[in-house]
Point group: D3
Chain length 220, copies 6
Amino acid sequence: MFIEIENLLGPPALARLAEIGAKAKFVDGRVSNPHNPTKKNLQIDTADPLYQESMQIVGNALLTNEEVRNFAFIQRLAPPLMCKYTPAMTYGRHSDSAFLPMAPAPLRSDLSCTVFLAAPETYEGGELTIYLGSKPVTIKGNAGAAILYPSTTIHEVVPVRKGERLVSITFIQSQINDERQRDLLYTLNEVAALEGNTMAWENRVRLELVRQSLHRMWST
Amino acid sequence: MFIEIENLLGPPALARLAEIGAKAKFVDGRVSNPHNPTKKNLQIDTADPLYQESMQIVGNALLTNEEVRNFAFIQRLAPPLMCKYTPAMTYGRHSDSAFLPMAPAPLRSDLSCTVFLAAPETYEGGELTIYLGSKPVTIKGNAGAAILYPSTTIHEVVPVRKGERLVSITFIQSQINDERQRDLLYTLNEVAALEGNTMAWENRVRLELVRQSLHRMWST
Amino acid sequence: MFIEIENLLGPPALARLAEIGAKAKFVDGRVSNPHNPTKKNLQIDTADPLYQESMQIVGNALLTNEEVRNFAFIQRLAPPLMCKYTPAMTYGRHSDSAFLPMAPAPLRSDLSCTVFLAAPETYEGGELTIYLGSKPVTIKGNAGAAILYPSTTIHEVVPVRKGERLVSITFIQSQINDERQRDLLYTLNEVAALEGNTMAWENRVRLELVRQSLHRMWST
Amino acid sequence: MFIEIENLLGPPALARLAEIGAKAKFVDGRVSNPHNPTKKNLQIDTADPLYQESMQIVGNALLTNEEVRNFAFIQRLAPPLMCKYTPAMTYGRHSDSAFLPMAPAPLRSDLSCTVFLAAPETYEGGELTIYLGSKPVTIKGNAGAAILYPSTTIHEVVPVRKGERLVSITFIQSQINDERQRDLLYTLNEVAALEGNTMAWENRVRLELVRQSLHRMWST
Amino acid sequence: MFIEIENLLGPPALARLAEIGAKAKFVDGRVSNPHNPTKKNLQIDTADPLYQESMQIVGNALLTNEEVRNFAFIQRLAPPLMCKYTPAMTYGRHSDSAFLPMAPAPLRSDLSCTVFLAAPETYEGGELTIYLGSKPVTIKGNAGAAILYPSTTIHEVVPVRKGERLVSITFIQSQINDERQRDLLYTLNEVAALEGNTMAWENRVRLELVRQSLHRMWST
Amino acid sequence: MFIEIENLLGPPALARLAEIGAKAKFVDGRVSNPHNPTKKNLQIDTADPLYQESMQIVGNALLTNEEVRNFAFIQRLAPPLMCKYTPAMTYGRHSDSAFLPMAPAPLRSDLSCTVFLAAPETYEGGELTIYLGSKPVTIKGNAGAAILYPSTTIHEVVPVRKGERLVSITFIQSQINDERQRDLLYTLNEVAALEGNTMAWENRVRLELVRQSLHRMWST
């Protein structure tokens, strides 16, 4: 299941991140995946102090966003990384690693997240394309929007043809490893949030029992 | 989880079963559990034609009762068996077998069921007592009432002191093997039945998705 | 995961099914889901002998198609049912039932299937739209094409605006209940089919061990 | 499964806790569940230094009690909290939350625990009532006794009619999330403890293999 | 886990099977695995009436042997097939298929079984060798002995150098799919059979509860 | 599944460990398993500073060995302990504990490891013997070799008859609790490492998806 958050970042955050995107040092994206010949992009140099700032802006926005928290059951969040695609840059079909090296323990990537930092009309190409078997899902969000999608897919960023695609990407370890279970509990929680107040108290208690029991049962 | 059905059997069925209890041949209960020294009761002779009749009356009542069906997710029902306890008869602490020999395949007993055929004031003692760790649950139902309880407990029938305890017992193989899963889906289904009609259509559809998905996921 | 089969049905089968679509009796789609107010379509009368013929044409095509078999690990197939949507007809958002009543035992619907019988240019609207959280996937196949998708989604057929949408729909119980497991084994089997012949024998044997072990482990 | 510990706390601990119950500041129980209209009780002010002392007395008693440890496979224990119910106070039907906010990570409540601090003859009403489907289990322990029960139930404290109900409550995260698995391993361990010494050595080793393997398999 | 049954077949059965091995028609073993280049052996022609007889002798011996039944929790048994290896014949490293085509439904092979029909001193080579990672286990049983081993291994029959290796092979679908679970329940059942009679009745009942509950929980 | 590592330790490490084996203080092996009457061996005194050194030599060798890491998916490693068996010493049949007391949390022993420190020709007897049901697997490695085997077996060290058996033993908590799952992922990873480079890129990506998804799904 996918979730798109329309306004994860507001104008001030976007403006500052655009500034960082222009000023910070960017290095070849291969540094973090040296063996992947399909990755041709740039990513912020993690030694540049602006990296820390960009990471905090995006990280805080994700950790405090209610839709994100409800959907993802966040346990840990990898530090968001700014990436830049100029014309002809691309990230070919690949699947994300199950575990990212991270202290104090590897982070299991259950959900992948792209935060769009540039307005879609400022660049051509660069769509995030996720393959669900023979069916592609294509995403090119507004500036400030985020998409969360399961890390268990094959996906790609198609080549940028014009302009610059600036994004921040990150990975979430969820309390709930299994996508199907996570999506069902999210859906049930949404129903309870929207309909619970008008239910007979006895039925609210029963629904609460089911929700809490599933949460307990499925958390890992 | 336990469920008590107050009026599984109406007066005519009860009257006929009382007659059968009085007329049919009963044999030593050890025939079906020869190695259990704690079983001291009588059970209807399965060679007696009245056995077939008693089995059908109780079996049909269970299979057509909506509460039973909602709670148990019945896949198969063992033929109900009439049992009689006269003074000093008892069935000491035991757990029920996982599988009952039955054509065309063994029946897995997920739920055990006792249908009470005699009014509780007509006999002393004979309570069904189910142990949940250090805590006993004691049941002595009205004539026509049934209790369904998980087959995964230690339980006993304490000695009858006076009068005659007449019951029909049976076992249910559920679509849902795991008790916790079965109880949660039952509870969620009850909430949907009682509250679904007043929900926004969109939320009914989402709740339906969760219910159907859990049913699919947990059926074995 | 989705799979689209481009040529499930060839021209003769399509021609015959178009004839059946024109000649057979169609009834209100509510007969099979009386409580769903969003279903407004027509379905072939199962009492019409042409129903049997249509069911066999589509059923045989699915059961003998290698892509379908590889993808779905078919255990049982529900009888395909022809449905017709004329202007203003629609089937609003819903999720499919976990179990369909069917002899000798209910059929668990793990995968849903739509076979397109009319050319897409002959009708307007009528897209099958599957919601993956906030992201819709839209499908309007060529005549003779089929789409298989998990029954665990919310989906709809948007209103037809012009022309006639003729489809055949059915449900598959898979050997592998869990979608994630089913998709992974399918993917691994595809890799083995395409790359196995050039592997060292020893590695083919190891890959075979993994494939057979997963198949054994995940079949229900 | 339930377990009642008769003498978790001895007379000196009980005397000191009674003193704390009389001297410490108590606040409205709603502070920890502001949205639950059925909770009408008092709980010790966690800012009062006596809270720390009460927490340590009860916490140590639980962590060092062999029956508790054998039954619960304690991984983490929430700080026990003293609660007071004066006449008309009650805590209506509810289920406990799956996770309690707690550093460094939320605590999953698998087992709920009530320690009784007042003699049952000193107050009327106030029974802890746990619903197992249609069957209530009622508990009113002696002073110093504790009850452990699965957090996956609907339960309530019925209104106190006279006197004062003083208890300490807490929650346990178990090594074994699933209640059924936890109860089976506890039962098998009890059998091994009571019968292992008289078994042939070879059979003890086999039983040990089963116990250790189940413990490994079921721990989360 | 492996189990060797020393005397599955007695002298009369062995004599009759030796006769069948000499008289029946044998065909190239590739008929049942046409794509496996490492299989070089002979197997009895299933069109020969002697095949039926051989199948019944070995099948009945397996189905009525208590050690086999206790160990394997047999649900279905594939028809045993006589195989012959003359000098230079071999069956290279392979893993067994998860499912065998069989009416009315494919048989899942959880356990593989070889019954040795020729005395080991009458042929050289021909050892059944099972690889557990880097560690081989080698088996050459006495005439009439059987070995059961998990179908989830890579194994081979090394080339026969002299004499004739005559065996009957078959596959078992167990009630318990998972090898680890099956082996643990078998081990616990053995302990109960050997030690149960001297236990306190209360502990026997508890051990019985654990055994029946595991059987129920793990059967598929 | 078993894995033997031929040269875990090189000559300098072996020489230093032999020195430690001669100089360090050794105590009765019963100190760590006081209730096991079958354990008759010596183990290094953990208060001796040489213990720390021996622990680091063996621990580092295991943590940096690629075969070990690929096979074991190490999450935590218990400190390796030197053990000495002089004539008549032995460690009778036993299974290893599921959990070892260790800060900050008990370590789950999924894999057991023996590192051989003495050349096999320098002592008689002392074989490590692992029982897989009725079938023993016997291991007596070269100096510097290691064996990893599942902790879920019954095993023993048979009596030493002559010379001195010097080993270092330890336990591994794996990312993957279940042996069957761990072995399948190891096998699939080996195939990918050996065959991935010659595959079509698209198939490598699909194989990568399967590997990462299984790793995610099975890690605990």
